[in-house]
């Protein structure tokens, strides 16, 4: 007869165990990462410089268009303005479009923070955890593996939200962007659906990276810049659809990243669906929210099964425990 401690296995215990695990794993990201004030420089100031380049280009285009409208003769598009009223109408449109483009860049900049976090701190995290010796301790613990990934995701979201908010606030004050939010609840729903889908994708990648090991690092690098472009982080993605030939193909490929659809919906909700003449959006907001929810569910399920399958595979091949094996 064993005298070892009896252990609980009931549902209440398991829920409590996994919630504690989520809190425990998110703690280093939320508390630890903000322990060094240098993050303000690296996480808030430097990204602002990154988006500033795009803002200045759009401002330059806006100024050129304005100069043409106010020039001699005043040009309204491809013809000379017929009246002052038409001239004013074109000026207002140029101002609105310039603001919408700059606002798109600022929103894209906030989403870039989340995408980079998903790529470098979610997808490749299990690989790094293995390198420093944490992974085997995680995998030996009784918590559900999704709690581990969930903790990483929650911690990443909270940590990155600070960077994203600072980028957003700086964008509003420094670049004078104007947002018009008509439906804040829908905006929150889209935002959270985007984050859950995005981090679900990160969870799925984390499992795959565990198996690929060092090669996964190259994959992250490969996915960084091309996805900035194909997902429309710095311009409305619908614009790509209007480029004949390769444009739609690249835009469709980029749309598999939840940030693309999420960003499109967020832009519609903060700039108005009539911005850019209403012609640069992919779908309407409701459809995009449905797609995002679908993606979130799909990626979470795939992450769950990928991790279970790849954990078994890694245990069989001896890749789970030691970098030498």
């Amino acid at each position: 007869m064993s005298v070892a401690t009896d252990r609980r296995t009931d549902l209440k215990y398991r829920v409590g165990l996994n919630l504690r695990a989520v809190v425990g794993r998110s703690y280093p990201r939320i508390v630890g990462a903000n322990r060094e004030p240098s993050w303000i420089f690296f996480e808030a100031f430097l990204p602002l410089l990154g988006i500033a380049a795009y803002v200045f280009i759009y401002q330059f285009f806006g100024l050129q268009a304005t100069a043409a409208i106010l020039g001699n003769p005043p040009m309204c598009g491809d013809h000379v303005c017929a009246s002052v009223a038409e001239q004013n109408q074109y000026l207002a449109a140029v101002n609105a479009n310039t603001n919408a483009l700059i606002a798109s860049v600022v929103l894209g900049g906030t989403m870039v923070a989340f995408w980079l976090n998903v790529l470098w701190s979610m997808a490749s995290q299990l690989y790094w955890e293995k390198e420093i010796g944490n992974l085997q301790l995680y995998m030996m613990a009784p918590m559900n593996r999704m709690a581990l990934l969930g903790g990483m995701a929650v911690g990443g979201m909270v940590m990155t939200s600070m960077r994203a908010v600072s980028t957003l606030v700086a964008g509003i004050f420094v670049f004078g962007v104007i947002f018009q939010v008509a439906n804040p609840l829908l905006l929150l729903a889209v935002f959270f659906a985007t984050l859950i889908a995005l981090y679900g994708l990160g969870m799925m990648f984390a499992s795959l990276y565990l198996l690929w090991g060092r090669e996964a690092w190259n994959l992250s690098a490969l996915m960084e810049e091309p996805i900035f472009f194909s997902s429309g982080f710095y311009f409305p993605l619908g614009g790509l659809f209007r480029i004949p030939g390769w444009g739609p193909a690249v835009a469709i490929a980029g749309s598999f990243i939840p940030a693309s659809i999420g960003l499109d919906a967020l832009r519609q909700l903060t700039l108005g669906s009539t911005a850019f003449g209403g012609s640069l959006w992919i779908f309407n907001v409701t459809t995009e929210l449905e797609i995002l929810v679908g993606m979130a569910v799909l990626f979470l399920i795939l992450a769950r099964y990928c991790l279970a399958y790849l954990e078994t595979l890694a245990k069989r091949e001896g890749k789970l425990t030691s970098r030498h094996q």
């Binding site: 007869m1 064993s2 005298v3 070892a4 401690t5 252990r7 296995t9 215990y13 409590g16 165990l17 504690r20 695990a21 809190v23 425990g24 794993r25 703690y27 280093p28 508390v31 630890g32 990462a33 322990r35 060094e36 420093i132 010796g133 944490n134 085997q136 301790l137 995680y138 995998m139 030996m140 613990a141 009784p142 918590m143 581990l148 078994t312 245990k315 069989r316 091949e317 001896g318 789970l320 425990t321 094996q325």
Partner: protein, 337 residues
């Protein structure tokens, strides 16, 4: 009799690195080292509940592989391993609730967190309520002499302090079975002593606690373990109490010699009556330390003659009672170093 750990004909083969088109073509030597490796070869063991069990073996003997299978981190290729009565392959959850593992030289945790926060974080993965966890951490930090460093960031801790933190991580979850893989590796005498004493008190002071310890330090294993298994090349060569193991070679004679550094040691094995020997050089003193396991005292004269014929001087010659190291040399054919 209930066993905390039981393995039956456990085998683990690592299949080696797969060839990939993007990888450099390995040289013939590399090709050989990339092939399959049998880390465990039919290991059958029973570790009783409440036992402090030692596993001794040279590097690559299969000690860590065995612990990792028992810790549900690695699947066996064949055979069966039961921990707390549960199969490691089919039923890992109840095992994970009851075990923990600490390895020597471990660098786990996050450098930005404090020692206390790191241990607390790991305790959350076992569902230990925060209040309970923090109280246990404080108590263990006092015992391990780490209280002064409780709020120091992990990256600021010394190797010894870090290992004490790892040990606390192992105990804080209240395991029934603890796997200690070279827990005192690289530690100073005091830190190692604190850890050894706590582990022994932990097992013997309460019912139902079991430790599986691997160690490079024979004296440590001799002092701590109720029973010891000697493992080499994935096979268990012997398994008994330290006293019984030593008794096994009592019929043999152990001689230790300190001589000027000698180069040729191959001739010793050819001498009649030499069962085994180990050889360690102390380069700073230009000396060699030789340990011979002999069937009787007969070959001593020939050994001395072989040494002096190489121009080396014999500084000391000592006949000793068998130690665990002698048992190890007798069975494995070489020392641990």
């Amino acid at each position: 009799m209930s066993y905390a750990v039981e393995t039956r004909d456990l085998t683990r083969v690592f299949s080696g690195k797969k060839k990939r088109w993007w990888r450099r073509k390995p040289t013939p030597d590399e090709e050989e080292s990339l092939g399959p490796v049998t880390a465990l070869d039919g290991v059958s063991l029973q570790i009783r509940e409440g036992e402090l069990f030692g596993l001794l073996g040279p590097n690559g003997a299969g000690k860590t592989t065995l612990i990792k299978i028992l810790a549900t981190l690695l699947l066996p290729t064949s055979g069966q391993a039961l921990v707390a009565g549960h199969d490691v392959t089919k039923d890992p959850f109840p095992i994970r609730q009851r075990i923990n593992m600490v390895s020597g030289g471990e660098t786990s945790g996050y450098g930005l967190l404090t020692a206390r926060e790191n241990i607390w974080m790991f305790s959350q993965f076992y569902g230990v309520p925060s209040k309970v966890s923090k109280a246990r951490i404080d108590e263990l930090m006092h015992i391990f002499g780490l209280w002064d460093k409780r709020d120091a960031k992990v990256r600021m801790l010394s190797t010894g302090q870090r290992q004490k933190m790892n040990m606390i991580r192992g105990f804080v979850t209240g395991p029934d079975i603890l796997f200690l893989d070279e827990p005192t590796l690289g530690l100073d005498v005091n830190a190692a002593r604190v850890i050894r004493e706590y582990v022994m008190n932990w097992v013997r002071g309460q019912a139902g606690k079991t430790v599986l310890l691997t160690s490079h330090y024979m004296a440590e294993a001799d002092q701590m373990c109720d029973r010891i298994a000697i493992i080499d090349k994935g096979r268990i060569l012997a398994c008994d109490t330290p006293a019984n193991l030593k008794r096994m070679i009592r019929t043999e004679t152990t001689f230790q010699l300190e001589v000027d550094t000698i180069r040729d040691t191959t001739s010793f094995m050819g001498l009649q009556g030499v069962k085994n020997f180990s050889h360690k050089d102390d380069i700073s003193k230009n000396r060699s330390h030789l340990t011979f396991i002999l069937e009787d005292e007969g070959p001593v004269a020939e050994i001395l003659s072989s040494i002096t014929s190489q121009g080396a001087k014999v500084h000391s010659l000592q006949k000793s009672e068998p130690t665990l190291e002698d048992v190890f040399i007798s069975m494995v054919g070489r020392g641990l170093d």
